[in-house]
Structure formats: C-alpha cells, structure tokens
C-alpha cells in the first residue's frame, strides 16, 4: 500500500540491519534508512512490545531479513511498517516525555530522497 511518502520504497525490501544509536535506533533496508528517535513498538502475534521490555531487542532484531509488505503513515498518529511474517513496527507520532522535536527521519541515499516527521506536524 502506498502512502505517498518517500518511505514507500522500502516495500518489498528486507530489513537488512537494526542499529542502536545512543537512545534511538535505525532500521536499514539495504540502503534506505529509517531513523526512529524513540524506541518503536514491536507488534508480534498481536502483542505490542515497548522499548525496555524483556526481549524487546530480540523481537526487533528478529525482523532482520524479513521483507516489508506495507507501510502506513497516519498523519499525526503513527507510522507503521508491516512485515511478511505479520509482525509490525509502529512509530508513534505523538510526543512523549523526553522526546526530541522529531519522531523519525527517512533517507534514501540512492535517489537522494529524505523525509522527516516532526511531532505535532501533519
């Protein structure tokens, strides 16, 4: 499903790596990178796992080599990345305590496209 965002290019790509940076993380898709400035929710088997919960990083890294089947962007609410195994990574677009001004940034160096989602912006 296309969102009209630059992020659409990851559909059909695999999650190639997960990189933890300071207090945020990056999802790499063999080139394109989604930087998420707070730990996203990981939905597996209908259960949402928040950052810091036991096994959270394992669940996140288990998505490596899984293909993205769709992305969704709900303005002001959430970015969703769904995988072929039914798991989903959800990035809230509503600020929480300690969050910076940005929720996420997507960069596709192959075509030079990039996009930033700021909290409180459409």
């Amino acid at each position: 499903m296309g969102t009209g965002h630059a992020l659409d290019v990851v559909v059909g790509e695999q999650l190639s790596s997960v990189e933890f940076v300071q207090d945020y993380l990056q999802l790499h898709f063999d080139g394109p990178t989604l930087t998420i400035y707070r730990y996203p929710l990981v939905e597996v088997g209908g259960v949402r796992h928040a950052g810091g919960s036991p096994g959270y990083r394992d669940l996140l890294c288990d998505r490596i080599a899984k293909q993205v089947c769709s992305v969704t962007v709900t303005a002001g609410k959430e970015i969703g990345v769904e995988f072929e195994d039914g798991a989903r990574i959800a990035i809230p677009l509503r600020p929480c305590e300690g969050s910076g001004p940005e929720a996420a940034m997507f960069q596709d160096p192959g075509v030079g496209a990039w996009e930033v989602w700021q909290y409180g912006m459409p």
Partner: protein, 237 residues
C-alpha cells in the same frame, strides 16, 4: 535603504525572507570574492523549492534589485569575511569583532540556549565557482551555519519541512566525521527552526567532535535565532 551597520552600499546583497516562517536560508557561495553570487545562487535555487512555499518558506526575488535578490527584508546576507566572534556578516568585515551597535554578541548567546551551538565561521572560503556548494548558510536571524566541505545540496525534504546538505567532510571547525547538515522548519518548540549535524549514517552528531549524541543532547538540535526585522536592522540589529 536606511543607513545602518547592516547596510551594504555595493548592492551585493541578498535579502531573504519567509512569509509566515522565517526559515528561508541563502546559499552564500564564496562571499569574500564574489558578492553577487549570493543572488545568483538564490535565483537558481528558488524554483527548486516549491515545497517551501507550501510550508510558508518562500524565496522571493525583487524585480528591481539588479544582481541582488530581495525578499521582505527579514534576513540579509552580505559578502565579506564577517566577524569572527559573532559571525555577523558585513561587507569588508575582517576584524576579530564587528563592533556593531548594540554590542558584538556570539551567535550562541543570541539563541539563549546552546552555548557555541553554531560553529564559528569567519568566511565562505570553501566554496568555488559554478554550482559548487556553499561554505556556510546564514539564517534570517543572523546565525551562520557551517556546511561540511564538499557537501551537495540543498536537497529539500519530501514533505517540505526542511533542507539538507550531505556528502561533505568537516571543514570550518566541523569534525571530519560531520558529513551533512540539515535545517528544519519551525515547530512550536523551535519557533525559528533548528539545525542538525549528521554523520555519513545519518546519525545526529556533535558538530565539533563528530560523536553521536542522544536525542535530548543540547547539541542534537541547534535552535535558530529569531529573524531580525527591518526596524531592528536600521537600529543596528
């Protein structure tokens, strides 16, 4: 034009402004030697940023400005080497401090938030001719933002929230690990916009050390100063 310490008698100037958002920037290429280049850069860049207009970030060209590009007067960029202390740019400034009316204030103190947030820049010596990238850009509020040497751009965001220069490598006081800088539109928390320095992996870094920083670090998002209006400029900024 009213006389002020900001006036540029040569006409080699570029006024830049936003309609509702003051985050319009100018690519100032090699200002010490090619003052008219700022205008040419602006004219060339303007059509490339339709998204900015949608977000209230506008490039405007003054029809009677000759070689210069003028907006509504919120920001102004001059050729010259500028003040080493506050990064105030004025034609012919070569002194350590510009001595402008109201005092020479470091750029960081103008923001009132992040000391030494914007790397000090005393000139745009890194840029060359043609379409080469600028050595630095200047906000309507007078903040000078160093652009990593050799970085390409500016590239706007897909959703018009900012623009970036990438693929560079240090220079002008930046760590060699700094490869890119992005300038982001105003949001309630940063009403004049903010600046983020990045490494090759798109990770937020400290501009001087190149080390990654946490999202809450004061140097992760460098707040820009408010735009100076024409009235304050005529009083001396």
């Amino acid at each position: 034009m009213p006389a002020s310490d900001n006036s540029c008698p040569t006409g080699n100037e570029a006024d830049i402004a936003g309609e509702t958002n003051s985050l319009t920037m100018v690519a100032l290429a090699n200002p010490p030697r090619q003052g008219g280049r700022a205008g040419r850069e602006l004219r060339r860049a303007a059509p490339r940023f339709p998204q900015f207009s949608q977000r209230g970030l506008q490039w405007r060209q003054h029809p009677g400005a000759g070689g210069a590009v003028r907006g509504r007067g919120l920001g102004r960029v001059y050729r010259g080497t500028g003040c080493r202390r506050c990064a105030h740019l004025r034609r012919g400034d070569d002194a350590e401090e510009c001595g402008r009316a109201g005092g020479c204030r470091p750029a960081a103190s103008r923001t009132g938030r992040t000391a030494d947030a914007i790397p000090p820049v005393s000139g745009g010596s890194a840029a060359g001719s043609g379409g080469e990238p600028p050595a630095f850009i200047v906000s309507p509020g007078g903040d000078v933002i160093a652009v990593p040497e050799g970085a390409g751009g500016p590239t706007p965001t897909a959703n018009g929230l900012g623009f970036q220069y990438t693929g560079g490598h240090g220079g002008l006081g930046l760590s060699p690990k700094v490869t890119g800088v992005r300038v982001m539109a105003a949001i309630p928390r940063y009403p004049n916009g903010y600046v983020v320095y990045m490494n090759a992996n798109g990770q937020t870094v400290h501009p001087y050390t190149g080390r990654t920083v946490a999202r809450g670090d004061p140097l992760a998002h460098l707040e820009l100063s408010p735009a100076r209006d024409s009235k304050s400029r005529s009083r001396g900024g």
